[in-house]
Structures are given as structure tokens and as C-alpha cells.
């Protein structure tokens, strides 16, 4: 068996290694596929569907789908970006995303993906759900208004911190992130240095007393779209 697999993404032939997902192979080739629930170092979850690509004409999540010889992948097409836009629009209206006073603004992956997709405003009616805040812990707080249920804190706490602090409760629009004790975040063994705290793509899980540490204009996504770092590797393979 050969140790490289050749596939095509948006008409460009790239090489991948057996066992890689489409997203891993694309990253290595300098092709950015938008994502929210996928994160380096975590087992893919395949839940946000923002990384949806067409594989031989069928929609698949690039973070979970393994590469195979000769597959034809469509990534940056109008059709797929329309799907991604709908997903991101829904994430915005299903939460309470007040970017104007969120400490994560400018470094937020949800916001950055929306910027990259060129979203000026979501096209669905806003739900204004009542989600709740847990500020009981001295160093960390959960603002469920901003949570997009990506599960990155759940996986990071389990797999990287070995703690199992977070889990999901409820179903459908009632689904929320919860801590594994019946009580509050302060009753768990979470620590401010845990990887789970860093893993949050939005402002749902934040350290206290950091606030707006980086001025506007110097934040991660102020000038360069999300994925620019991956696209810098373009043509390196």
C-alpha cells in the first residue's frame, strides 16, 4: 500500500497520508476549511457542520471523513458557503451574541468565521433565549448566552485535562453546557490553567479579570481572516 493518497480539493490535486481526515490533509496543503467544533489536539466531534464539504457530490464533515484515493472534494463553492452561512446565521440567532461588550470579540472564532463568510447580519429571526451565567468560580465563568455547543471544553477537559468537568444537558433548543457536579462551576475541580478554558472558541468560557486586554486593531482577527495562517502553507506540498 502506498504511503500517500492523492485527492482533489477545488480542482487542486493534493497528497495526504493514510488515516488523515480531509481537514488534516487540507490543512497540511495550505487549504483552509472553515470549522468551529474541530480543534488541533482534540478528537473530531463532527457536530457543528461548518466544515461540510462535498465529497464526490455528497455532503460530509471534513473533520471526521477520512481521505481516500481519488476523491473529489469541493470546499470553496457558492453552494457550500451558503450552507455554512446558514449554519453560522443559526448559531448567532440561537444564542445571545452581544459582540459589542464581549471580551472575546476580535479573538472569537464564531465571529471570525462569520467575517470570513461575509455575513453582515443573520437572516433568521433572533430567539433571545434565556441561558444563564455561572460566575460562581473565583477565576472562570460560564456565559451560556454565548455558547455554541461545540463540545470543545467537554473534550478538552476529558482528553487533555483528564478531569471530565463539562457535559451536555437537555435536548434541542434546551441543550446547555453543564458541569459534572449537580452544583456550580466552583464545586468542580476545574483550574484556571486547564486546557478546557482555552478551548472555548467563543466567549462562553472565560477567565475572570482579563477583560479587554488587547486593544481593538491588535486582536487576532482584526486584520486577517481566520484561516490565513493555514493558507500561508499553500503550495508547500
Amino acid at each position: 500500500m502506498s504511503d500517500t493518497i492523492t485527492l482533489t480539493i477545488d480542482g487542486v490535486e493534493i497528497q495526504g497520508k493514510p488515516g488523515q481526515t480531509i481537514m488534516e490533509a487540507a490543512d497540511a496543503a495550505g487549504i483552509y476549511i472553515p470549522r468551529l467544533c474541530a480543534m488541533d489536539g482534540l478528537v473530531p466531534h463532527g457536530s457543528c457542520r461548518v466544515c461540510t464539504v462535498m465529497v464526490n457530490g455528497r455532503p460530509q464533515s471534513a473533520c471526521t471523513q477520512p481521505i481516500a484515493p481519488g476523491i473529489v472534494v469541493d470546499n470553496e463553492t457558492d453552494e457550500i458557503n451558503a450552507i455554512r452561512r446558514d449554519i453560522v446565521d443559526m448559531l448567532f440567532v440561537e444564542g445571545n451574541h452581544f459582540c459589542m461588550f464581549c471580551e472575546k470579540s476580535g479573538n472569537c472564532e464564531l465571529q471570525a468565521v462569520a467575517y470570513r463568510l461575509g455575513i453582515a447580519a443573520p437572516r433568521f429571526p433572533f430567539q433571545f433565549p434565556d441561558c444563564g451565567i455561572d460566575a460562581s468560580h473565583p477565576d472562570i465563568f460560564i456565559d451560556r448566552d454565548r455558547c455554541i455547543l461545540c463540545g470543545r471544553c467537554v473534550r478538552a477537559s476529558q482528553d487533555l485535562d483528564g478531569k471530565d468537568v463539562f457535559g451536555f444537558v437537555g435536548r434541542g433548543s434546551e441543550k446547555r453546557i453543564a458541569v459534572n457536579s449537580d452544583a456550580k462551576l466552583k464545586d468542580t475541580n476545574i483550574d484556571v490553567t486547564d486546557k478546557a478554558v482555552e478551548a472555548c472558541p467563543v466567549g462562553a468560557l472565560l477567565k475572570k479579570r482579563v477583560g479587554f486586554a488587547v486593544p481593538i486593531g491588535q486582536r487576532k482577527y482584526d486584520h486577517k481572516p481566520i484561516g490565513s495562517d493555514i493558507e500561508q502553507n499553500k503550495g508547500s506540498l
Partner: protein
């Protein structure tokens, strides 16, 4: 044919977006060459003088007067633009959207010291003058009341965003804003 007409209003907003319009600095002289201001707090014209080409809406709808003004703008403006996050998604005022209206009134007007008072209000009564517009049950984004043609996000949108969009519309070019001019904060 005269110059195109521009109208602006602030509904449930803080006038920050109007400040951002003024923040185009000396380009406002150029803007005046391009357009005539109609109904707007900038020139203090209270009523529409006739059909207007572009209407800029700041703020969402928190009371019945906001809805009336917004519908008036839709009727009179060929192109209607939501300017800023309040117009687009309700913004800061929409923080009250999952709090029952009665609790909001209690917080503001009750004489119960545990709840407030936020204002000196010895009677404890909620103001009920017929002149006062009735509050809506929640704050509504403009696009949930009327059709909105363009959205300029930001709190406020950068002056350059407003300027670029205005110039594009007034010179019949597509509104294609660069990455750095679409920001939600």
C-alpha cells in the same frame, strides 16, 4: 434632476451611529456635495419633504413610536439601511428581551429598595402619560418589522464603513466592503 436625498433617524439607539456618521470628518463636505439631507437629526428636519433615496436607521424598535417612524422610513425611502448592531439585532437594549416587561418596570420605577429605585419616584407609579409611546414586549430588530435592504454592522460601524457604503450606493456601484470594514463590535 437634483441631488439624491438622504434621511437618517435614531430609534432605540444611543446616537453613537450618528456620531460615527459625523466621524467621516471633512468627508462630510463631500457627502453634502453628493446628497441633500432630508428628515434627519443632523439638519433637524422633522418630516419627510418627499421621496428619499437612502434612509439610514440607527437602533431597533423598543416602543410603538419606533415602529411608526420605521414604517414611515420604509414608505418614503427607496433604499433602507440598518446601521449598527441595535438596528440589526436589537443591541444592548435587547438585553431586556428575556426579562418580562413587568420586571423591567419594577426595576426602574418601584419604590421597593430591593429592586431600585433607578429614578427618584416617590409615588412608585409607572409613568402612564398618553404622550409617552407604549413600550413593546421586547426590542425588535428592524428587519423583523420592515424589509431592510442593507446591513452595516458594528457598535458603531466604523466611519469608513458608512462612507464606503454611501459612496458605492450614490455612485451606482455594488456595496463590496473589504474585510476590515465588517466588524460586529
Amino acid at each position: 434632476m437634483g441631488k439624491p436625498k438622504l434621511a437618517t433617524t435614531s430609534l432605540c439607539g444611543c446616537f453613537g451611529c450618528h456620531m460615527s456618521v459625523l466621524d467621516i470628518d471633512d468627508r462630510i463636505l463631500k457627502l453634502i456635495e453628493l446628497v441633500d439631507f432630508d428628515k434627519s437629526p443632523i439638519d433637524d428636519i422633522k418630516e419627510f419633504t418627499g421621496p428619499v433615496d437612502i434612509g439610514l436607521i440607527e437602533g431597533g424598535c423598543c416602543n410603538e413610536e419606533n415602529v411608526h417612524v420605521l414604517k414611515d422610513f420604509r414608505k418614503n425611502c427607496k433604499i433602507l439601511i440598518s446601521v449598527g448592531d441595535c438596528a440589526i439585532d436589537g443591541g444592548i437594549p435587547a438585553l431586556r428581551n428575556n426579562i418580562p416587561l413587568k420586571e423591567c418596570f419594577d426595576e426602574a420605577y418601584s419604590t421597593d429598595n430591593r429592586l431600585g429605585p433607578a429614578v427618584l419616584n416617590p409615588s412608585g407609579k409607572v409613568p402612564n402619560d398618553p404622550e409617552l409611546p407604549l413600550l413593546l414586549d421586547r426590542v425588535y430588530p428592524c428587519s423583523e418589522i420592515v424589509k431592510i435592504d442593507y446591513h452595516l454592522p458594528g457598535c458603531p460601524p466604523p466611519a469608513d464603513t458608512i462612507w464606503e457604503a454611501m459612496v458605492a450606493l450614490l455612485t451606482d456601484k455594488p456595496v463590496a466592503l473589504p474585510y476590515e470594514l465588517i466588524k460586529y463590535d
